[in-house]
């Protein structure tokens, strides 16, 4: 089991107290699965429209781990997800992101996708007239081609899709509609997870995939995620509420506030947050900063 | 253009330029002579002119009008002919085109508001008006009626709100037509300017005292300086026999806002060409209107919205109803000029055709020269929803009242924003009274 990012933290029975910035946080407990270091974010500073949103975020994610990033609105959670996927308009001022030892920030969005990075969008985009199946096949084959793997013909692809549909309990009718067009909020989110299931990424970032879902849809999404948990795959779940974490138990929970990770710990940290609210971490932030 | 001068043109040409206010001022006399020449040589617009495509002036061309008549300008008029509920603020009244001090209310104007008739301002202090009077003629290609107006405008509104002043009481401008021995024609020129951050509520009210077939030709310029806000109600309830030609231009500087509501009810021939130019960044215009026509009425609204600044917004909602042998024309053109990134333009025009002899012609148009743009328009012509009608009737409402209810609701959307509420209710009542067979409702 890899050791925490640094030894500066102090272990408590409740979790791991975050350490001084910018060297990062303690990445957690020793669990009996896991693997290689996959993602390493070091002292990341990001500006959006001239305003600094991330102010020194450090995070390490190993294969097989599930990390939850929680935090109040405006903390910079979605910014982190978008930077990882390579969206335009996010200016990295300082710091680095390495993925499999490569500089992620230098890669185009499609190259990141081919390398196994997947962002489930907070607001999935509608693309009128473009058939869902066609889109997904173009995406999968685009990625396979970039990886030097053979492309799937339509029969192979359809077999794969049917199998994944079953797992996701989605209606096949969804496949024949245009990408996200006229989908309900829940359908859009489930479609994201369905895409993830088909594309089988190695690093999946779920940006508020739980928001706007009723309890049944939430369970379905969670089941979809759990089904994909695997030793070679890591998840970063960005969420405002703890309730998704009742169904997808994270290995680590990090609290992002005002552009910094102010608290890290195990799954129980989420419950603590739920009980005390974000004010609880905000209150202690000055103490940490002083440390 | 034509060898034989039309009677209309002839009757205008004979107007006595010398009796106009401000006569004797060199630049003004020159401009008036030049404009008259332009008018006579251009003749009236015809259907080859896209902005006049659906409004033929052949009948007007054959008519002639008396230009100025002192007797016509001073008939006794009852206040009730133009009173509006809850509107008790500053008022400027013109009867058959001439300012009437005894009907106006200009005492104790609020701080920051200057409101005077053109016929008084011109002889006293013409220089400040020079640019405003002549400028538009240089900017826009000449239209025959604009030229005619410049040549013969004898009165109008000169209104100014100083920087930062908020005029809360609505200002009521009345253009009243009163019966006279002859059919007469008059030209009115209005100049309205709101200084930076100024706010104004203005009602342009066309009313009538007795039936007549006069012609009135108005040109109005509105300038909204940075951050100014204008709430404008155009209530057109002119005489059924009259002709009313209007050209209004709103020039909006950055962060200026206008909310406009127009209700077109009267006149045999009514045409309003309304230019809204969003020149400054973040300027916004909300324009709404409705017309209800019957008999042989012809009403034409030419709404031209130009986005020039960045992040400008326009939203337009117009409704039209035509019954009898009436013809309603709507043209809503949105132009987004190069560089007007961030423009957001919406236009909706819906019309009801209630009679086999009525006609609706509508043209929404988009001209887009920038790519960071959201623009959408929609237009429909149809009739009342039979299911809604049936629903109302099945609840015990008679066929005609049910019809009225739906027509009224159809138009009401365009008038929902009229302020104050008492004025909105009054507009609604006027609309109802104008609807075909409205009296049964």
């Amino acid at each position: 089991m890899p050791s925490p990012a640094s030894g500066e933290g102090e272990r408590t029975h409740k979790g791991v107290r975050a350490c001084a910035m910018p060297r990062g946080l303690l990445a957690g407990f020793s669990l009996n699965f896991g693997g290689q270091m996959m993602l390493k974010i070091d002292n990341l500073h990001v500006r959006v429209a001239g305003r600094e949103i991330l102010k020194g975020v450090s995070l390490e994610v190993n294969a097989g781990e599930v990390h939850a990033i929680m935090g109040p609105n405006g903390a910079g959670k979605s910014t982190l997800g978008n930077v990882l996927a390579g969206r335009a308009g996010y200016e990295v001022m300082q710091g680095s992101i390495s993925y499999d030892g490569k500089n992620l920030l230098e890669m185009d969005p499609e190259a990141r996708a081919a390398a196994g990075v997947f962002l489930a969008f907070q607001y999935p985009v509608e693309i009128p007239g473009v058939n869902n199946t066609y889109f997904l096949r173009a995406a999968l084959n685009g990625q396979r081609k970039a990886r030097g793997e053979p492309e799937l013909d339509s029969r192979e692809f359809l077999t794969l899709v049917r199998e994944k549909l079953k797992v996701m309990q989605l209606s096949p009718e969804l496949l024949n509609r245009a990408v996200n067009e006229g989908f309900s909020g829940g359908e859009k989110k489930r479609n994201e997870i369905f895409q993830m299931a088909v594309l089988e990424p190695r690093l999946a970032i779920l940006d508020e995939t739980d928001s706007g879902l009723d309890i049944d849809a939430l369970k379905q999404v969670a089941e979809g995620v759990n089904a994909l948990r695997a030793p070679q795959r890591a998840f970063v779940m960005i969420t405002h509420y703890q309730r998704l974490l009742d169904y997808v138990i994270p290995d680590f929970v990090h609290v992002l506030a005002d552009g910094r990770i102010v608290e890290s710990g195990g799954a129980e940290l989420a419950q603590e947050l739920e009980a005390h609210g974000y004010a609880w971490v905000r209150d202690r932030k000055p103490v940490e900063a002083a440390a | 253009m034509n060898a034989a001068v039309a009677p209309f043109v002839e009757s205008m040409r004979n107007a006595a330029l010398a009796s106009l206010p401000g006569s004797g001022i060199g630049w003004l006399d020159a401009a008036r002579r030049e404009a008259m020449h332009a008018f006579v040589s251009a003749g009236l617009p015809n259907s080859r002119n896209e902005l006049w495509k659906y409004t033929a002036l052949r009948a007007l061309e054959r008519r002639s009008y008396a230009a100025h008549d002192d007797a016509a300008a001073t008939p006794a008029v009852d206040q009730g002919a133009f009173a509006l509920p809850s509107i008790t603020g500053p008022r400027l009244v013109f009867v058959n085109g001439a300012f009437r001090a005894n009907l106006s209310a200009l005492d104790g104007l609020p701080q920051g508001l200057s409101l005077r008739p053109l016929s008084r301002v011109l002889p006293e202090n013409p220089e400040p008006l020079r640019f405003a009077l002549l400028a538009r003629q240089d900017r826009e290609p000449r239209d025959a009626f604009a030229a005619l107006n410049l040549a013969l405008a004898s009165d109008g509104v000169v209104l100014h709100v100083t920087e930062g002043a908020h005029i809360d009481e609505p200002v009521h401008i009345v253009h009243l037509g009163a019966a006279a021995r002859h059919d007469i024609a008059w030209n009115t020129r209005n100049l309205v300017e709101l200084g930076e951050g100024a706010r104004l509520r203005l009602i342009e009210h066309h009313a009538t005292a007795g039936e007549h077939a006069h012609l009135s030709n108005l040109v109005s310029d509105f300038v909204l300086r940075k951050g100014a806000e204008l709430d404008l109600v155009l209530l057109q309830d002119a005489a059924f026999g009259g002709s009313l030609l209007r050209y209004s231009q709103l020039r909006m500087h950055e962060d200026a806002r206008v909310a406009l509501h127009a209700l077109e009810l009267g006149a045999a021939l009514s045409r309003h060409e309304l230019h809204v130019s969003l020149d400054g960044d973040r300027a916004r215009a909300e324009t709404n209107g409705a017309f209800a026509l019957r008999g042989r009425q012809h009403a034409d609204t030419e709404l031209l919205i130009e986005h020039r600044g960045r992040d400008t917004a326009s939203n337009s909602l117009w409704r039209g109803v035509a019954d009898g042998r009436a013809r309603g024309v709507f043209h809503g053109a949105i132009t987004v000029h190069p560089g007007a990134d961030g423009a957001d333009a919406k236009l909706s025009n819906k019309n009801l055709l209630l009679s086999p002899d009525a006609e609706i012609d509508t043209r929404p148009a988009l001209e887009i020269h920038a790519d960071e743009v959201k623009a959408a328009h929609g237009a429909t012509v149809g009739q009342l929803d039979e299911r809604a009608l049936f629903y109302l009737r099945s609840r015990g409402i008679g066929a005609e009242p049910a019809r009225m209810l739906l027509v009224r609701a159809f138009c009401a959307l365009a008038l929902a924003g009229v302020q104050p509420p008492a004025l909105r209710e009054h507009c609604d009542a006027l609309l109802l009274a104008h609807l075909p067979r409205g009296e049964e409702a």
Binding site: G86, R87, A88, G89, D108, P109, E110, R112, A113, F118, L119, F121, P124, V125, I127, P128, G129, V130, N131, F135, L136, A138, A139, L140, G142, A146, A178, Q195, L199 | Y54, P338, N351, L353, L354, S355, P356, A358, E359, I360, D361, T362, R363, P364, A365, L366, E367, I368, A370, D371, V373, K374, A375, A376, H377, G378, A379, T380, V381, G382, Q383
Partner: protein
Amino acid sequence: MATESRDLEALLNRRYSAGFVTDIETDSLPAGLNEDTVRAISLRKREPEWMTQWRLDAYRHWLTMTPPHWAKLNIAPIDFQAISYYAAPKQGPKSLAEVDPKLLETYEKLGVPLHERAKLAGVAVDAVFDSVSVGTTFRKELADAGVIFCSMSEAIREHPQLVKQYLGSVVPQRDNYFAALNSAVFSDGSFVFIPRGVRCPMELSTYFRINAGHTGQFERTLIIAEDGASVSYLEGCTAPMRDENQLHAAVVELVALERANIKYSTVQNWYPGDENGKGGIYNFVTKRGDCRGDDSRISWTQVETGSAITWKYPSCILRGDRSVGEFNSVALTHHRQQADTGTKMIHIGRDTRSKIVSKGISAGHGQNTYRGLVKVEKNAANARNHTQCDSLLIGKKCGAHTFPYMEVKNPSAIVEHEATTSKISDDQLFYCRSRGVGEEDAVSMIVDGFCKQVFRELPMEFAVEAKKLLEVSLEGAIG
């Protein structure tokens, strides 16, 4: 990404693949236009005297007309005396077997094989090269079904009664400036006659090719579907890359009698000129369908990617009760291309219906205008129209314009128009890319999605061709 729009521009740097010239001996008239030119064309085509007179009538009227006023088009005046009005390969074919191999090769290169061996399955093709038809495939199969599909020249000689009855009955000689010119000098085109009750057993197609320099192409197409007949017809067009502007002024007339159904599809890929606006075809076309019989139906589908200037309004006159008119259009303008296109739906009969779907794509300095008229006449009770016009803008220097006219004189009609303008959003592009779809593919995918509604209306083979054509237009991708 600040580079995104620049990439998009690069992405649009198309290659025009049909721009080659066929080296073939041509018999052409010298440039210039007068009554002798008109007589010479008629003579070369061995036309009867009535046809010559018909042409001369048109010519004499044309002389009295003035060129149209170009509302949104930026166009230099055309010198009608600098154009040659007739060009034909010297070796005139009698049948396909005798066609010059160079010609066959030309069409093969364009993807339209004419050999008996390699013919397009299920599609009969009439190939028009410059001013004449060089061959028609599947003649026997069509004749067995009673369908007449031949060149217009042949129809004038072989079926004079039909031509006399219908030619000019939808687009009169004097209809407009370019229709009058066409009536005077038209060289060839296709003639289709589907007799009563016959469903044409295969798709009919005409492939137009301008080859010779300094020539105009003035084809004339006439399609008649008798009671209960139906036909699907497609035209394709290409031309070599030349620095000059060449004029193409065609007239297409469709006549649908009772219960007849005509589907007319166009994939127009005339040479558009280069990125600076040099060269390219002026495409001024009058296309009109007459739903003369009750329950008839005419549908126009067009994919317009070529030409320097396109000016055409395929229209429907809905005369018969319950007749139906449709217009589906994709128009792409790039570089300095200008398109002013749309339709007219004239509702005259009762319970008539029309549907308009227009998709405009503007890139580079391209200017794309939809101009349409929906007119409901007084007696057209229960007329219905729905119009949808969408514009897609790619880049800051292009323009997209929508000018619909709605004139309604019947109170039971319902006429609806909606239009939107948008650009390919950065969000859509990023979404595709984050799923692993490259930028170039993402753009063509989004554009294809935008056009989907129209492509659906094309016959299968041509939908594929149209899609490819758009992809080629969007090829050249990211720098």
